[in-house]
């Protein structure tokens, strides 16, 4: 286990695995500190995962998603769900 600035990489677990190309919905506001107020505008939007955590499939990593009509942003995973 490795850590950086007191952050333990295995501290958190989200419920879903997100892969490149997955179609997703921003279904709720994230509780993560990386959530900024303007991201409230994204709730309900659909898009694609364009760059998941590139190395270790870390459930806590911020991942890059492209949202329809709103551009590409890095979001915490706990606000995303995969659309089938």
């Amino acid at each position: 286990m490795v850590s950086c600035r007191g952050f333990n990489r295995e501290d958190k677990e989200t419920t879903m695995e997100l892969m490149k190309g997955d179609k997703i919905e921003v279904f709720r506001r994230s509780k993560d500190e990386a959530w900024e107020p303007y991201m409230d505008d994204f709730i309900g939007l659909h898009g694609f995962v364009t760059d998941p955590d590139t190395v270790i499939n870390d459930p806590d990593a911020l991942i890059e998603v492209s949202l329809q009509g709103r551009g590409t942003h890095r979001l915490p995973q706990d606000c995303l769900k995969v659309l089938v």
Partner: protein, 716 residues
């Protein structure tokens, strides 16, 4: 433009025209006009904050106080904003344009997907016409490194490409590389004109993609930029993290040289905080700092034996050594631990340096590998072996020499309350992979050495610099950051986008202009006319295959592996673009044709994002009557009906969906609808228009003839 046009949109069009016309000759006045335009564009796109309108008022006062300013422009703007103030406020508060005028230049999905916001359809249209230098000019509005990105971008644009809903996405990345190479070869790859020096200085820490991007845009805005770089070369991870067989050094050097040509000063072998301090830079007159130090520190494997052998290497350090001149194989039997692109790069580099066998050990399955699938395939072709579901446990050896990597087989198990599959060791399934060198590639983090002087800057719990993503501004005034230092290890294009955003934010900060509420939505400036093509050709064109270097050279040299498309393939591929910048896929055309007209000639299943169905442009000609109902209701003029060379033609973004002969009234020679349309009307109107069954007559002549036939005079 009609009077009904949204006043915000009207202001943008007016200001853009005035700035383009060159009538604002006073440099300061021109700059103010550009700042007003920027703020108005943000109001239009919904990213403005509440202080935007008051900032425009202040700028306008400033503009009108300039003796050399064009007064008519200032007065027009002031009048318009005063008359329509509530409409401007409504855009800011509702983030919506009631008349939808502000969405007419809405970016396409590929442009939206690009973290740098490159106007993809415009440059593809230019490439399709062979206008490579113009295409590069369009790309460099948002990305100063088109050649680099054309070779190594992770291409989120292609992920969102609407053409993929029909067959395969456009090869946007390779087309960009072709255009850059051709423009460079033709000596037509040029820097835009930069503004007059404004006397302000910005220090950029780090010459990676984020730093280069910020330096470029700041230099264009007239800032004096000094880039501090610890390495002896520019490019950051581009140069020392990406191997030369993917990205030749000359490509980076040529694009960096273009940035140097703008007057950007590079200080190499200079460690920030050690060789040069914030205090010294402030004494030099630096007004703002931009930090783009990347994420160069490698995570450790955390297994037994890791510290005992000199041949346990970190992938980033290994790749950096090779990039800077080290050309010895790390070992004969190399094992790389990890599943990302860095692991693939380390493995393929080891192979090229002469390793006999290279194995990538990854703890999850192939489908979960985060590395680019093309890179994985190419590695396999070259002979790299993969050991999936493999968890390293210890490095074994004797007398300082590694003999193997001890591993245990894993299975993927769902953890409690989670759908995420986690690798769990299977007891009793231990094994050893023969190795004399082990390279760890399990990720990197930000090295904060030298950042102590920025003591008011906050760091996230992930060890990254905290910024407001709308402005890339840290908690410390005048200090901005972007790239991997903010996002953690991420993509080159994301760093480039962040650098561009930070440059704009630094300019606003130093000119006391409010920052946007959210990151700006990409901006489009023009609509390039679409390439005309028959529906059958649009459907049948396929993406070309990438020619590759021969296998022996791939296994032994660092020559570029992907050799690039030829010009014919490039033009054809660019021609496959559906021009989603023109057609916004509202689906109104399909609904009208199917539900209102009852014809159902438009088989355009790709219009639906969530549930796309079959698309066939060729099918339109079978049923279409060229009535024009679809075109008449297309707000963006994506669908048009035109009459040309005796044919009435229906086109969707340049794709010819249907073409029918134009008919003429046999009495007065007036243009008539097509036979199919007349038959359609005849069926609908039945007895009323029986006369048209045998004769070609316009409405007027029909009425006259009908009256005569029925023995009554025509009504006047």
């Amino acid at each position: 433009m009609a009077e009904k046009t949204c006043p915000v949109r009207k202001t943008i069009v007016y200001l853009s025209e005035q700035i383009r016309s060159g009538e604002i000759t006073d440099p300061r006045a021109r700059r103010i006009a550009e700042q007003i335009l920027l703020l108005t564009e943000e109001i239009a796109e919904g990213s403005a904050g509440l202080d935007h309108l008051s900032a425009i008022d202040t700028l306008l006062e400033d503009y009108l106080s300039r003796p050399a300013a064009n007064r008519a422009l200032g007065d027009t703007l002031k009048k318009r904003i005063s008359e329509h103030r509530e409409v401007f406020f409504s855009h800011i508060e509702s983030r919506n344009c009631p008349s939808h005028d502000c969405g007419k230049l809405a970016p396409s999905p590929c442009q939206m997907a690009c973290p740098a916001g490159i106007d993809v359809p415009t440059y593809l249209a230019l490439i399709a016409k062979g206008c490579h230098a113009e295409a590069i000019e369009v790309i460099r509005r948002d990305n100063p490194l088109p050649w680099v990105c054309g070779l190594i971008c992770t291409r989120p644009c292609e992920m969102m490409c609407v053409r993929a809903r029909i067959d395969t996405p456009i090869s946007i990345k390779f087309l960009k590389a072709f255009a850059a190479e051709r423009a460079m070869s033709e000596r037509a790859y040029r820097n835009p004109d930069k503004k007059e020096p404004n006397g302000k200085r910005v220090c950029v820490v780090g010459a990676g993609p984020g730093g280069l991007s910020a330096a470029y845009y700041l230099a264009l805005m007239g800032y004096q930029v000094r880039v501090i770089e610890a390495l002896p070369v520019s490019g950051g991870m581009l140069m020392v993290g990406i191997p030369r067989y993917r990205l030749p050094r000359e490509v980076i050097d040529r694009e960096v040289a273009m940035i140097e040509d703008l007057g950007v000063q590079f200080s190499y072998n200079t460690r920030f905080g050690v060789d040069v301090t914030v205090e010294e830079l402030k004494k030099e007159g630096v007004d703002a700092f931009f930090i783009a130090i990347g994420a160069h520190k490698a995570w450790e494997l955390g297994i037994r034996g890791e510290k005992e052998f000199s041949k346990v290497l970190e992938a980033v350090a290994f790749l950096k050594g090779v990039a800077l001149g080290e050309h010895h194989a790390p070992g004969r039997h190399v094992v790389v631990v990890g599943g990302g692109n860095v692991a693939i790069d380390a493995a393929r580099t080891s192979l090229r340096l002469g390793a006999e066998k290279v194995t990538i050990a990854y703890r999850r399955s192939r489908s979960q590998m985060p590395a680019d699938t093309d890179e994985v395939e190419q590695a396999e072709e070259e002979g790299i072996e993969f050991s999936f579901l493999t968890i390293p446990t210890q490095i074994t050896g004797e007398n300082g020499i590694i003999t193997g990597l001890g591993c245990v087989k894993a299975e993927l198990v769902k953890k409690k309350d989670s759908d995420r599959l986690a690798p769990v060791p299977i007891e009793g399934q231990e094994f050893t992979i023969k190795a004399d060198a082990v390279i760890s590639a399990i990720g990197q983090y930000v090295d904060d050495t030298g950042m102590e002087a920025f003591d008011k800057m906050n760091w996230s719990r992930r060890g990254t610099i905290e910024v407001n993503h709308a402005s890339m501004e840290t908690a410390m005034p005048g200090v901005f950051a972007a790239g991997d230092a903010v996002s953690g290890p991420a993509t080159v294009i994301e760093a480039i986008g962040g650098g561009k955003r930070a440059a704009a934010a630094i300019d606003r900060y130093l000119n006391h202009i409010p920052q946007p509420r959210m990151p700006r939505i990409p901006v489009r400036h023009t609509i390039e006319p679409p390439v005309e093509m028959a529906a059958s050709r649009k459907m049948s064109l396929k993406s070309p295959q990438m020619p590759m270097l021969n296998m022996d050279r791939r296994r032994t040299t660092f020559q570029q592996v992907e050799l690039g498309y030829d010009e014919k393939s490039v033009r054809q591929e660019a021609g496959r673009c559906l021009r989603c910048d023109i057609c916004r896929r509202c689906g109104k055309c399909v609904e009208i044709c199917r539900d209102k007209m009852g014809i159902d000639a438009l088989q355009l299943g790709y219009l639906d994002f969530d549930t796309p169905s079959a698309t066939d442009f060729r099918a339109t000609a079978e049923k279409c009557i060229t009535c024009g109902a679809c075109a008449a209701n297309c707000e963006n003029k994506a669908l048009v009906i035109e009459e040309k060379e005796g044919q009435r033609r229906l086109k969707l973004c340049g794709t010819l969906l249907n073409s029918q002969a134009i008919l003429y009234c046999e009495r007065c020679n007036a243009i008539l609808p097509s036979v199919e349309y007349l038959q359609f009307i005849a069926k609908k109107t039945g007895h009323v228009s029986k006369i048209t069954e045998k004769r070609l007559l316009c409405n007027d002549c029909q009425r006259k003839m009908g009256a005569r036939i029925n023995g009554v005079l025509p009504r006047v």
